[in-house]
Symmetry: C2
Subunit: 147 residues, 2 copies
């Protein structure tokens, strides 16, 4: 039960863009340094993010990336979807070897895994990028971070 680095980086980089890219576009070299993420890897990630219309780009000197929507309009789940970070716990349906698929009847645990996916998905859908940039700790009720 882990998030891939790609997923972690994507969210982190989006927070970075949201914080530092308000006036001028953020170029990825800066994000790379600030967040300690490989530049080439960031390029791949932003490729996906752009395709999902979460960011817009500006080429040439002084260019870079900006958010394409307000940060309170971007859900963390949107970011996950953009980079194809799937929430997949069942294992059913994809491979013919699985005990669930093929047979036509659900495996004993099918509903449970689906519910777990729902719990995770609901949470990711309820948190917005702005929640992270505002440095709130989201946990039911929201409390400010003392930092």
């Amino acid at each position: 039960m882990k998030i891939t680095s790609k997923g972690r980086y994507a969210v982190l980089a989006m927070v970075d863009i949201a914080k530092f890219g308000e006036d001028t576009p953020c170029n990825l070299s800066h994000v790379s340094v600030r967040q300690n993420i490989s530049l080439s890897y960031l390029e791949q990630i932003f490729n996906d993010l752009k395709r999902a219309n979460l960011v817009k780009s500006q080429k040439g000197p002084g260019g870079g990336y900006k958010l394409n929507k307000e940060s309170n309009e971007i859900r963390i789940l949107d970011i996950f979807n953009a980079i194809d970070e799937q929430i997949k716990t069942t294992g059913c349906g994809n491979d013919p070897k699985s005990s669930c698929s093929g047979t036509g009847k659900k495996c004993l645990t099918h509903n449970f895994w689906e519910n777990l996916e729902g719990v995770i998905g609901n949470y990711l859908n309820s948190v917005y990028l702005s929640d992270l940039t505002e440095e709130y700790s989201i946990s039911g009720e929201r409390r400010a971070i003392s930092e």
Copy 2:
């Protein structure tokens, strides 16, 4: 964001044991066939489950595994812990390369990932093995499955 096969198999096999091992112990060959899981792999998994005192074993002919507690006393989180299926989303703290560790200050997304871990952990802690054997679909309020 995936569960490993080991995790899926462990939960599935525990449900199997709970269902079929009430009177006589379940031997793993049968579980293997019923749930379509490799026998050797099951052996490894039950090694862990036994070490965590979730099951007890009986060697020799007619032997096998039984639950070591009532199924309404075993939480899914217990099973995850037994087989070391970690809920780890931060990526901070473990490797020195991560943007969070070393520097002494939390990365921008640290609290978010911790909250996500909390959401998942709470859910897994709230569901019992008996919830699965009774074929309930757990989702906030519980509804019976029409099957």
